[in-house]
Symmetry: C2
Subunit: 374 residues, 2 copies
Amino acid sequence: MNIGVLGAGQLGRMLALAGYPLADRFVFLDPAGKPSAGIGEILVFSGEASDEDVLDDFLSRVDVVTYEFEHLPVDLVQAVERRKPVYPNSHALHVCQNRAEEKALFDRLSIPTPAYRLVSSPVELASAVRELGAPVVAKSITEGYDGKGQAVLHDAEEAAAAWQTIGHERLIVEAFVDFVREVSIIAVRGRDGRVAFYPMAENVHVEGILRYSLAPMPNLEPQVQQTADGYIRALLDELDYVGVLALELFQTRDGRLLANEMAPRVHNSGHWTLDGAVTSQFENHLRAIQGLPLGSTEARQPTCMVNVIGSEGEAAEILAIDDAHLHRYGKSERPGRKLGHVNLLASSHDELLGKVRDCASRLPEAPEPRFSFE
Amino acid sequence: MNIGVLGAGQLGRMLALAGYPLADRFVFLDPAGKPSAGIGEILVFSGEASDEDVLDDFLSRVDVVTYEFEHLPVDLVQAVERRKPVYPNSHALHVCQNRAEEKALFDRLSIPTPAYRLVSSPVELASAVRELGAPVVAKSITEGYDGKGQAVLHDAEEAAAAWQTIGHERLIVEAFVDFVREVSIIAVRGRDGRVAFYPMAENVHVEGILRYSLAPMPNLEPQVQQTADGYIRALLDELDYVGVLALELFQTRDGRLLANEMAPRVHNSGHWTLDGAVTSQFENHLRAIQGLPLGSTEARQPTCMVNVIGSEGEAAEILAIDDAHLHRYGKSERPGRKLGHVNLLASSHDELLGKVRDCASRLPEAPEPRFSFE
């Protein structure tokens, strides 16, 4: 099948690598002008009316369209949807782009979230800080990626300054959660409505950027996985979603899960599946959007994904670790840039932790790995 | 690294798919005019002197050169070798192309083979049939692939006709071996001389074409693996070989191994490693030729590779089998053509055999799977 992908970064690259063995061919439409996929055919699309030919060309070559990042103009995706099947659908994309709609959906489906308020002025922001209790995090309703367009407020008096800094008309204000760990659930829904769930991952963020994902996460009680499965299934069904969806959550001291946000695409916290699961999230996304049966989401072994950020390190040093799998994205080095990841497998979580520490010590900019179970 | 590959078929395609995650880039030089890799950049090379520019262009883009099929003109590979590092080296290629030299090497290294004779006339051929005892198989010294350029003789009187049919000046005549099964050992040698061995596979050929490879092969006694490891290590060291080498052998009723032939490249009987081993033969070949540490060759689970030959079958039916992994080569259907393969994993050989039968029933042209252990 000819697969069109909106966006042309590392997620598209990994989709293509998973798709060649299924005899898929890939055409990327890059709306950002910075393609890095380095595979398949890449068309650059400015979004201007004068670039309509590029869009036509793209659509004429593809049987089905998907996307690898969610900061796409919804009207572009709707225009594509009128001419070719698009999975996930544009409504799902729209909801995921808008934190107010996303939270409303969580509420409607009884998926618990941290306490939050929607505010439209500095005064309302100050009230929200008082009601929720400082500290809080204020975020723009739309946009925002990896900590941008956000501010932490420690006092209601900081409202005016924070309002200014964020610079949006409507914000969502969230109470801080006293969480034990950040976790995620990734699931995939086929065109026939069947759903498969990956084992949950424990995620370690540093300065808003994912650094480590460990799956199946340690001390994963079956009812916690079942609860997460139930939440993401409700979202998938409600959105009539096809493909991979990621839901990030907080786990509290008493074991409860609170939904943070979702991403309508293959997700960094699912990269461990490339080596650690029977079927990777990339292959399952492609199986789903083509109407093929979903593959098993079982983990082969405890696996940890270590993001390679800012500088690559030496391939020879990383590959000297037993059962280490390097995935480079072919991008140039730049501070804070995701350049690749390493998947490490081991027969126990303790052994795995040793490998993760070893790997981190071989990556120039990896922070010390700190998981909840240590 | 920029990797140049001589040949542009499915083996090159799978090398490239394994190499993108290492940030390798691929340029193929196709000397056969029928590229099917469908990935990377492909240059078509006629071999004529007038095509020298194409070769120059190829060499200017690559850091290291390897090949994915052994029926290459040795002088072409030597010409490449004078300008860029080539792994495996042209001497290894030369030996693998010449059955007389190959057998002489086996003899020199005390690697047992079926009894054989080299003959240069119909009269000598008739004598060889009498000495070895019919039936025998006569093969041209050079060329020959998948049963071409060969004849089976059941009587010395067939010598003249067989000589005519094969149409070469020098033949090798081999005694038939009363083997229990056909097996293979695949190993990889790094630029530093380190060697890693994959667990042996049992191979099922039908009409000279590989149909099934099962690894680790059932009833694999440690000393049999050690013997095979010793044989292939001797070959690798003697040839100062870098990359993946495959050695096909017969196993006799009393457990002995007799070398049949070797292939200086990634091999069809190693395709199971894509899903069943910690590191695939493709990745390990790339690690070797780049001077990177070799990855673990351990099997994750018993795995069977089922070749898809002649017609594709329905992807949806194949992928409905649990832990089935489809690898299509993006080629058009044609009788006898290798179009792809399916890797099946299971926790036991019995369970695996059930899956193999199930998979074969879903492939239009798969013969009944028959292994030695049933």
